[in-house]
């Protein structure tokens, strides 16, 4: 729909051209000409042309016995009703008549369309037809009417409740026809979700029985609906949970993957009440269907893989024998490949790592850069996860580095840095790494190498030369690399004070005097002060023993994981973010988007001269279309959105971490560094409680300087799926503002 077309339409009188011809056709005395004209009108509509000016003429053709033509006119009505709300009333009669037609197809069509014409006038006339069709003898009509209740509720909840439609729907859960049951449940569940106070869908043991009955006879989509509802049901006792699991488990064998996922969700939720032995049996039963999902269409596979990832975080062993299934096919889409890698690392154990490693080495020689990097990273994750595998992994990494492919080398260095944090014994590889110093152009890789040089300064003969080179170009480096240089030089000085004093002074000078980044300046001042005092104290702080890292595989905080497991198969479980974070708020909130949708239609109408005149005549300018025309800006509701955003205090999805955390005066990027100076993020997020406990205590305020790597972790290695976790990180410094954030935090420690 190009705006130009619309504007042109507004100024040119519709007396000639296509519109004129169509109009002539629509009022022709010959039926076939009229039908042809309607088809052409719909065609024009499909192509995005605005044919709303023909509304009155199309409307004349609504009373017809030709089913196809009727469908087209109805379709037209749905599309343009908003622009001619007052003319719609002319169609009401036909709708009411059609809803009593002897042919169920027409009755259903009428009620379905009425619900889609989102005009107040139409709603007033819906009551009777809807009441009748809900009790229609044809299940086809009933199932259509059931959905129509949800449509009506969306438009006018009060009317829906006052007329007792909700009760009728609740009765319809007992309908003999499974599809009617499914649609009634669907409608009720939507109403319940939008307006929980209606308590539209509250399952009782009696309705539960009905749902379980209908489950076996439903269409695939009906099953998804019923299963989703069952997953949200809170069982009264163990027996009931047992019963639900028993009845739902056969659905694992359904051919539709979304039915399988929905069934997995139900069993996974309800089996928690059962005894461990039964739980084990169900988990075992779940594995083969989950594996079969990997053979579905790639998009569906992706959803399945993201869900399997969640299931594995909760139950790491369920697929431990199925590693091979996740091997990447050469023609898998990249998004599937990356996800498979994630899962393979999760499944890795000391029995299958050999297999996995040889596969990863293969992947690291592919050509897709993202995939190769991820494969290299996976090798490192396996090394840190499984001690027995570490030597083979390090050798594999050394093989890879010898390929001299730039991005492989960089990734390998980052990975080896992490390996050294767990197994300092592999220091023998350092000379090899140092050979590639000139190849590194990414801040992550440079930082990693510099950290290694600082950490092992006493064992690297030319450490001072290497660092000198970096100090030369200190001011040109990225912040995170600068931080590393700073720390490494200080470590070097403490380890080899003899001839490095000049160097350390130079770097401190540059970091404080020539640099305007507060993070770097602050850190440099702290070091400076430490170094000007007792050097032994400085040593004991800066060179102290660091706790070994336990894993570099990112996991979700337990609270979030728990929440996402109850959302299996939904978008939240695919994004690995709580629904609140992407179901927009404020300007992008559901209400706001709906408002924008309505606004869009109004605007279309306003630009249409006929509609404008009709509306103006009818409403006496009270709801002025000119106003609408001026009010094109969808963000017009600024006050409203401000109220949403500020009042509720929900973290804006697009807010940078710094904004969420609210650290005054901290530029967004280095806020991670600020956080890590307090030493809280000494390790990657999923820190087991034992070592987490040591970190704040032992490290205290200075912890960071001892292992300045944590800062890097935040921004680099463990960069999680953004918002969900970002919430967790930076907010920790200030009282978390949102409920979600604080929960995440609790999960973190």
């Amino acid at each position: 729909m190009s705006a130009i077309n619309r504007i042109r339409g507004a100024f040119a009188p519709p007396r000639k051209g296509e519109t004129f011809e169509l109009r002539a056709g629509l009022v022709s005395q010959y039926a076939y000409e009229r039908k042809e004209a309607i088809q052409k009108t719909i065609m024009a509509m499909t192509l995005g042309k605005d044919v709303s000016a023909l509304f009155p003429d199309v409307l004349k053709n609504i009373a017809t016995s030709d089913l196809d033509q009727k469908k087209l006119v109805y379709l037209y009505l749905m599309n343009y009703a908003k622009s001619h709300p007052d003319l719609c009333i002319l169609a009401v009669n036909t709708f009411v008549q059609d809803s009593e037609d002897p042919n169920p197809l027409i009755r259903a069509l009428a009620i379905r369309t009425m619900g889609c014409i989102r005009v107040d006038k139409m709603i007033d006339y819906m009551e009777e037809p809807l009441r009748k069709t809900l009790r229609d003898e044809s299940p086809y009509v009933r199932k259509t009417a059931a959905i129509c209740v949800a449509k009506l509720f969306d438009l006018n909840p009060t009317m829906c409740i006052e007329n007792g439609f909700l009760e009728t729907l609740q009765d319809m859960i007992g309908d003999p026809n499974p599809m009617v049951v499914a649609n009634s449940v669907q409608a009720l569940s939507e109403i319940h979700e939008t307006a929980p106070e209606t308590r539209a869908l509250v399952l009782t043991p009696a309705t539960l029985k009905k749902l379980l009955m209908a489950l076996n006879e439903c269409t695939e989509w009906g099953r998804v609906t019923i299963l989703t509802t069952l997953a949200e049901y809170t069982a009264h006792d163990v027996k009931e949970s047992e019963h639900i699991c028993e009845r739902v488990a056969p659905q694992f064998q359904h051919v539709n993957p979304s039915v399988v996922l929905a069934a997995v969700k139900v069993v996974f939720t309800h089996m928690k009440a059962l005894n461990p032995k039964t739980v084990g049996a169900y988990l075992k039963k779940m594995a083969p269907p989950l594996v079969t999902l990997i053979a579905s269409a790639p998009e569906v596979q992706y959803v399945a893989l993201r869900n399997i990832d969640l299931l594995l975080q909760a139950n790491p062993d369920i697929l431990s024998k199925e590693l091979r299934v996740f091997f990447c096919k050469y023609n898998d889409p990249p998004y599937v490949k990356l996800q498979k890698l994630e899962i393979m690392v999760r499944i890795a154990n000391d029995k299958n790592f050999d297999q996995l490693l040889s596969e990863l080495k293969e992947y690291a020689l592919e050509v897709d850069m993202d995939f190769v990097r991820r494969a290299v990273k996976a090798i490192g994750q396996v090394a840190i996860k499984i001690e027995a595998a570490s030597e083979k992994c390090v050798n594999a990494l050394l093989d890879l580095i010898s390929t001299k492919v730039n991005y492989v080398v960089q990734e390998v260095i980052v990975v080896i840095k992490d390996i050294l944090r767990k197994y300092p014994g592999y220091e023998g590889v350092i000379p090899t790494l140092c050979k590639y110093i000139d190849e590194l152009d990414e801040p992550n890789a440079r930082g990693a190498l510099i950290w290694i040089v600082g950490e092992y300064a006493e064992k690297i003969n030319n450490a001072d030369e290497i660092l000198e080179g970096f100090v030369e170009g200190f001011l040109e480096e990225f912040t995170q690399t600068q931080l590393q240089i700073l720390t490494a030089v200080v470590k070097l000085f403490l380890k080899k004070p003899s001839n490095t004093q000049g160097l350390v002074q130079k770097v401190l000078q540059q970091a404080t005097a020539d640099n305007d980044n507060p993070d770097i300046r602050d850190r440099a001042y702290i070091y400076w002060r430490l170094l000007s005092g007792d050097l032994d104290v400085a040593k004991s702080i800066i060179l102290s023993q660091k706790p070994a890292i336990t894993t570099t595989v990112t996991s979700l905080p337990p609270v979030l994981l728990e929440q996402l497991l109850s959302e299996l198969s939904t978008l939240a479980s695919v994004y690995h973010k709580p629904p609140e974070s992407f179901v927009g708020k404020g300007r992008f909130g559901a209400d706001e988007i709906q408002r924008a949708a309505i606004q869009e239609q109004r605007q279309n109408a306003a630009e249409n001269p006929i509609a404008a005149s009709v509306a103006a005549a009818a409403k006496g300018g009270q709801q002025n279309n000119v106003e609408n025309l001026l009010d094109i800006d969808f963000d017009g509701g600024a006050p409203a959105s401000a109220e949403h955003g500020g009042g509720v205090g929900t973290p804006d999805r697009f807010g940078s971490p710094a904004n969420v955390g609210g650290l005054p005066g901290t530029p967004p990027q280095p806020s991670g560094g600020m956080a890590d100076i307090m030493g809280l993020f000494d390790a990657p997020p999923p820190m087991p409680s034992a070592s987490a406990a040591t970190s704040p205590a032992a490290a205290g305020g200075m912890g960071d300087m001892m292992s300045s790597f944590a800062g890097m972790d935040l921004s680099g290695t463990s960069a999680p799926p953004p918002p969900g976790q970002q919430l967790g990180h930076p907010t920790s410094q200030t009282p978390p503002k949102s409920g979600g954030g604080s929960e995440d935090l609790l999960g973190l420690f």
Partner: protein, 448 residues
């Protein structure tokens, strides 16, 4: 739940759209191509669903089309993506092929179908056989108006009543496809049998069918002693006509079949299988100007069986030229559009072994690459950027074949009982077995 469904061309222009809920601005679709290309710049892995400014985009690609669903809720992603695939399936049955042209030519019926398949964003009837009974392009020619078939909402939503055949027949095809991943040194990394039982059903009335297989679990649960081999299926998936709870109870496969062709069930076996056609390959590169492939193929199945239409596809550097081949059986040709050589053998007897040698020239400029002409082990070498699906990936050797009257798993149909209580007709079941190559990939060794 989807708020709206769009059909877009590859540039992101809307060809046809259906707004189901009116709760999102339809103009949001204009952002889709922009968001997609932004995401593609960021990473090669763009997932099939993403969120932007409170609107979620879920899409699939089919031929020269994008099918896109928009929603603002935390919707069931698996369901919607599958529904989009289902649209493709149904439309393909209606219009032979679903592409830009067929959307333009059939918009009237597409609107009708979209109306019937989804209501207020919730999937409804997607069974194309049933849809075809009441949504047809010629309905206006009929004297009587179409009515919704009872089947639409029936518990048996896949079969209409009153079907009549003079001769009552059922054809069962047991088709197994073998997926294999073999490493360059000949280890089988992954093997999997994907089986399917397809039926062609020409039966009158509402027949009740019961299918018996040599299913190990079934023998165990019924305590029957096995005569002959029983197979252990890892996972079984059934057409919606099969009573799942009965299968759960006593592993009985009982159902009222749809009319005509359909897939009754599919199953998966993880048993380690040896490659039925074993391929060994040695690659030799001569100072970067010439490359030689030596292939050995061996049929590792019983002498009585024969593999038909065997094709062995070996990827070669995409700038190779002047191919020369030598083989003792079949034909070899160079397919530059696929950057591969294809060795075809019409019939490959069990236990036989054949050889093939191929030699190709390479442009002389590549001499400086030390990775054997850069075709296998290299990065961004000539193996990359080739062919559409394998773009950027190291391509393996692919093997294709078909072996009739043979199943790898040893699955057998023990019986198919057909009863129609009202009509009581005699009927004939026919069974065929066939094994096909699925996705068979043998990784290419590095050149020596």
């Amino acid at each position: 739940m989807a708020s709206a469904i769009f059909f877009l061309d590859l540039k992101g222009k809307t060809l046809l759209a259906r707004n189901y809920r009116g709760d999102i601005p339809m103009s949001a679709v204009e952002k889709f191509p922009i968001l997609l290309s932004e995401a593609e710049e960021e990473s090669s892995a763009v997932p099939p669903c993403f969120s932007h400014e409170g609107i979620n985009y879920l899409y699939i690609r089919h031929n020269n089309l994008y099918l896109l669903a928009l929603t603002k809720r935390n919707t069931n992603a698996a369901e919607i993506l599958l529904f989009l695939h289902k649209i493709v399936e149904v439309f393909t049955e209606y219009f032979k092929a679903l592409e830009e042209e067929s959307i333009r030519d059939n918009f009237v019926i597409i609107y009708e179908l979209l109306d019937e398949m989804m209501d207020f964003g919730y999937p409804q009837t997607t069974e194309s056989k049933i849809l075809q009974e009441y949504i047809t392009q010629e309905s206006h020619k009929l004297e009587i108006q179409a009515r919704p078939p009872i089947a639409v909402t029936n518990a048996v939503s896949w079969r209409s009543e009153g079907i009549r055949y003079r001769k009552n027949e059922v054809f069962l095809d047991v088709i197994e496809s073998l997926n294999l991943l073999v490493s360059a040194n000949g280890n089988v990394l992954r093997s999997e049998i994907l089986g399917a039982i397809k039926m062609k059903c020409y039966l009158s009335g509402m027949p009740e069918l019961r299918l018996g297989l040599n299913d190990k679990v079934m023998f165990e649960t019924t305590g029957r002693t096995t005569r002959g081999k029983a197979i252990e299926m890892e996972d079984v998936k059934f057409h919606q006509c099969v009573r799942l709870s009965r299968f759960e109870n006593d592993r009985t496969i009982s159902f009222i079949p749809p009319d005509g062709e359909f897939e009754l069930m599919s199953y998966r076996l993880n048993t380690q299988v040896k490659p039925l056609i074993w391929v060994e390959c040695v690659v030799e590169s001569h100072s970067g100007s010439r490359i030689e492939y030596m292939l050995k193929a061996r049929a590792q199945f019983k002498r009585r069986s024969t593999a038909n239409n065997v094709e062995i596809i070996v990827p070669v550097p995409d700038d190779a030229d002047t191919p020369r081949f030598r083989t003792n059986v079949g034909s070899v040709h160079y397919a530059p559009e696929k950057s591969a050589i294809v060795w075809k053998i019409k019939q490959f007897g069990g236990g036989k072994e054949f050889l093939m040698r191929a030699e190709l020239g390479l442009p002389s400029v590549r001499g400086d690459d030390e990775h054997g002409g850069g075709m296998t082990g290299g990065f961004g070498g000539s193996m990359g950027g080739v062919g559409a699906p394998g773009k950027g990936a190291k391509r393996p050797i692919q093997v294709k074949f078909e072996i009739p009257y043979f199943t790898t798993s040893g699955i057998q149909v023990r019986y198919l009982k057909i009863t129609e209580p009202k009509l009581q007709y005699p009927s004939l079941p026919w069974v065929r077995y066939i094994t096909q190559s699925g996705d068979i990939a043998v990784r290419l060794p590095d050149a020596v």
